[in-house]
Structures are given as C-alpha cells and as structure tokens.
Amino acid sequence: MGEWWADYAKQVQSYANKDVVIGTTWPYMENILKADKKPVNAIKPKEGTTGWSDTWMIYSKAAHPNCMYMWMNYIESPQAQAKVAESFGEAPANLKACPLTTNKDFCTQLHAADESWWKNVYYWTTPTADCGGKGGTCKTQQDWVNAWTEIRG
C-alpha cells in the first residue's frame, strides 16, 4: 500500500524505507529484504495466489545446434538449477537440485516437493477472447491493460 511498483528495485527500497507497509511481492524481493535483515514476512493467502514458471527460449534455427544441446544439458543439470532457483528465489523444476542449494532448507521453504502447496497457485496465462478455448467470450489482454490504465486514472 502506498504506491504501485513496476520494478523490483523500487519495491525493495519502498519496504526498506517503510514507505510501503503491506503489498504484493515476489519471493525474489522477499529474499533480498530478509538478507538485509529487514523486518518483513511474506505469506500465501489461504485463497491461493498467482504464480508463473520461468522459461528458457531457444532459437529453433540456432547456428550451432550442438552448442544449444550442451546448453540445454547444462541448464537442466541439478547444479545449474540450484543456482538459478536460489538466485531468483523460485522453486527448482529439477528436484535433484534441492540437495545442492547453499541454503539447505531452500526447497522446503519454497515447498518445491510439496504438491498440495501448488494446488491453489494459479499460473499466469494470456487472456484471450475465446477464454482459452473453454467457450464463451472473455476479455483480452488489451482489455485488461486498458482497464488497468483507467483504474489508475
């Protein structure tokens, strides 16, 4: 509460200076603030929360396909997954990364292996006019962006 945030540095500073006392966040900002010993805590409401999976995109016409495969092998490896997950404060996709994190409780804290935790995490999707093929008419991404512009005034 207090201001909208659009970049993480702004939000971290807002909490650090007590300009904001409550609001939405990402685990990434939570980690930074807790590492700085700021008195903050993040909770997941019992109604659930939104979430997303970070993805790597690979160019289908890469000039050096072997290089690309080596990269894929590397980034899927438990070692690389542990580093990426800890850096961004996200649960690793590859559970073999869990024993390799520097913080030994990392995967427990993020509920990486706890399937019931993820039951009410609603993943981000692009809203489409056909409701993602479920039938009926829905608002498009542009409608939501326009609504957001109008709400803010």
């Binding site: 500073q13 200076n17 542009q142 326009n146 109008e150 803010r152």
Partner: protein, 298 residues
C-alpha cells in the same frame, strides 16, 4: 617572401581540376552534395521513424501475441477521445510541465543574472562548470537519489521534521521538485547567454535617463532577456512532457510518458496514437515560442 605555390593546385585540364571547376560553376550542386548526408539522416532516420511510429496508430494488435496486425482502424483515436483517462493524463502532464517551467525560470534567472552581470570572470567560469556538472551524472542516478531523498524516512523529512512538517514525497509535489532539479541547467544556460548578450550601453543609457536599477531591470533587462527565458522553457517544458522514468520512480500517478511506456509492449497502436498528443502540444508551444522570439535567442 616566397611565391604562392600555384603548382600545388591541379594542372589545367586534369580530371581533379575539371571537377573543381564544375563544382565552382554549379554552386547549388555542391551545396546539395554537402547537405545530402545530414539532411538524409534527418529525413530517414529521424522523421522516418517518427512517421512509422505514427502509422502504427491506425493498426490493430493480435489479442494473443500483442503483435501489431496491419488491419486499418481508427478505434485507437476514438478511445483517446471517449475515455476520460487519456484527457486527464494529458492535462496532468501539461500542468506539470508548465509548473516545472515556471519554477525553473524563477530559479534560473537570478543565477544566470549573477553569472552574466555580477560575477568576476573567474567566478563565472566556476559557476558555468557547476551548472553543467549535474549533466555529467547519469539521469537514472539522480532520479534514484531523489527517490531516496523524498522517502518518508528520507533526508527531506529529516530536515523538515524539527519544523513539524511532514512532506509526502512520492506525490505530484515530489515529482515537481525532481523535474525542477533535473532540468534547471537547461534553463540557466540559455538565460545566461541571453543576459550576456545585452549590451552594457543600454543599461548605462537607462541609468543616464534617470532609470533606477529596479526600473532598468523591468523596462530594459527583462524584456531583452525574455526571449532567452522562452528558449529555455522549450527544453524544460518538452523534457517534462515526454519523461517517463522520473514519474515511474517517484509517483504512482500516470503521465503521458508512463502511459505510453506501459502500453508499448501490449498495445503499441494505442501508445502510438497517444504520442500524437505531446507532438501537437509541442508544435503549438514552438509556434508560440517562435512568435516570442525564442529562436533568435537560442
């Protein structure tokens, strides 16, 4: 005295000499060739990209990928008129630009006057460096520094605290302070140049005719320096009108720049249509500034 080295120019009839003679006889051609590169750059890279951007305002977007689809529509312009939010944001931004310009003019005039008319040459050089110094620092660093100054627990409230004043920094007023700081050098320099150009003889003549210092200032100095103030205001006004980083950092309010920025990824045509607002405002502003003699003062 040695003779002028005629032998260095190409001999008669040589290709170099003929080319040189040809250009001499066709002065318009040599002018056209000289200007082709800078004018070409201006037309293609500068105006061309602007036109491409404005053309985007009549296209649609694919609702799923947010990519621009080349089907003609005027909906984007209709939305600008129908939805009050765009009018409010444009009006808020123009007001901000006007208030920042006034504040900068009021602050810059005494500084520029001191630099041009009072300070010793040595002090003047130091002041010019001091005015230019903030321009050497990154804009982002300055904006973030102001965000920290304006914070509820920041320096400004620390200074105002003992006076019993609590200033809400992340607001329009805070943004106004930041803009006024950021663009001040752009006002000081033209006003300084304008004041320096006023011949001392005019001020002496006013004094000879019985004008006291205040009267001389109102009747001679200010009217002669006014076009320079208008010239500086072009910078402060237009820079405020288009900026999106400072508003994003300091406030949660929407301004022309932030609204365009927020839309450019998901709905480029709406952003492009809204670009027309600051362009039209600036054209009107420049026409008025020209009438007030600002271009001659630059």
């Amino acid at each position: 005295m040695t003779s002028v080295p005629y032998e260095q120019s190409p001999p008669r009839g040589s290709p170099g000499r003929r080319l040189s003679v040809y250009f001499y006889r066709h002065p318009r051609l040599s002018l056209a060739l000289l200007l082709a590169l800078p004018l070409g750059w201006l037309a293609v890279a500068y105006l061309g990209s602007l036109i491409v951007l404005l053309l985007a305002a009549v296209w649609n977007v694919d609702p799923f990928t947010s990519q621009v689809v080349h089907t003609y529509t005027l909906d984007n312009f209709r939305r600008l008129f129908d939805e009050p939010v765009y009018r409010n944001v444009a009006w808020r931004t123009i007001q901000m630009a006007a208030l920042v310009t006034i504040a900068d003019a009021v602050l810059a005039f005494p500084i520029a006057y001191y630099m041009a008319r009072v300070a010793s040459p040595r002090a003047r050089n130091l002041l010019v460096v001091a005015v230019l110094m903030p321009l050497w620092a990154s804009y982002l660093v300055k904006a973030y520094a102001w965000r920290i100054i304006l914070s509820g627990e920041g320096m400004l409230n620390w200074v105002l605290g003992p006076l019993g004043i609590s200033f809400h920094g992340y607001s329009s007023a805070g943004l106004w302070l930041v803009f006024t700081y950021l663009w001040l050098p752009f006002m000081i320099l033209p006003v300084y140049a304008g004041l320096e150009r006023i011949p001392s003889s005019l001020l002496e003549a006013s004094a000879d005719l019985g004008g006291r210092s205040l009267r001389t200032f109102w009747r001679v100095t200010l009217p002669l320096a006014f076009p320079a103030v208008v010239a500086g205001s072009i910078f402060t006004f237009s820079l405020t009108l288009g900026d999106y980083i400072a508003p994003k950092l300091i406030t949660s309010q929407q301004f022309i720049g932030t609204l365009i920025y927020d839309n450019h990824g998901t709905n480029l045509p709406v952003a492009a249509a809204f670009t027309l607002v600051p362009i039209v405002v600036m054209i009107v502003y420049l026409v008025v500034a020209r009438r007030l003699g600002a271009f001659a003062a630059l």
